[in-house]
């Protein structure tokens, strides 16, 4: 269990490094938050509670990895999104009119 926690700690740090690449403010905030969350639960010994906390950590890691995209503010007031390979991209729902056609 101990090694699981430590490896999750490392994974969370590595993921936040990738997600907030080049954004010093967000990087520092993420590092502090990860550290604080782990510290605040350091005395938890109940296996059930531990399991729940581990699951939360894993979910946060997945969320950071697949659902956070950096927006870079450009001069013309628009943002460019950094779309990376792990970002969750779902298929667009097909247009209703296309569906109607194929049915006919």
């Amino acid at each position: 269990m101990r090694s699981q926690v430590l490896s999750l700690y490392k994974l969370l740090h590595r993921t936040s490094q990738k997600t907030f690449l080049g954004d010093a403010k967000a990087l520092e905030a993420a590092q502090l938050r990860i550290r604080d969350e782990f510290n605040s639960n350091k005395d938890v010994s109940d296996p059930k509670a531990l399991k729940k906390l581990l699951k939360t950590g894993q979910d946060v890691q997945l969320l950071l990895k697949t659902s956070v995209a950096q927006g870079i503010h450009k001069e013309d007031g628009r943002y460019s999104l950094r779309i990376h390979e792990h970002l969750l991209r779902e298929d667009n729902a097909p247009f209703p009119c296309d569906k109607d056609k194929s049915n006919r």
Binding site: R2, S3, L6, S7, Y9, K10, H13, F38, N39
Partner: protein
Amino acid sequence: MASLCRLRVLSSIQNFARIQHIRSIATRSSSFAVLQQGLGTSKCNQNNLQQRITELTRSVRHYGSAAEMTITSIQERCTLVLKLFDKVDPEKVSLESKFAEDLGLDSLDAVEVIMAMEDEFGVEISDETAEKLLNLKDVVECVADRLDVAH
């Protein structure tokens, strides 16, 4: 007239460098040396000068390679990384000092130290191995193993 000639020399060197895709710093500094030599002979006609530049630059193309790692250089870099870690008292750092007992780091700090070492040397240290690294000496040995450096 002399300054015009210098300008031409400069642009011809720039063109030459562009054509030859000269990227290494060593070559850039040596082509600067050529430039200075070229300016000394401002009376020379331009064709001769260009030929001379071509000869000189061709003879001094160098490519860099990574600095060779030794066990001492790894030790030095590891020590520096650990001293720069914000929760560590730099004066207590030695190769033998234990992360937990002597430096007062908890297990999470130890993970962060190992991560910093991985970043420093561009190596990967697995979680199982990382758990067994208790002082700087262990880390140095582990990094040396990964980099194929004898120790």
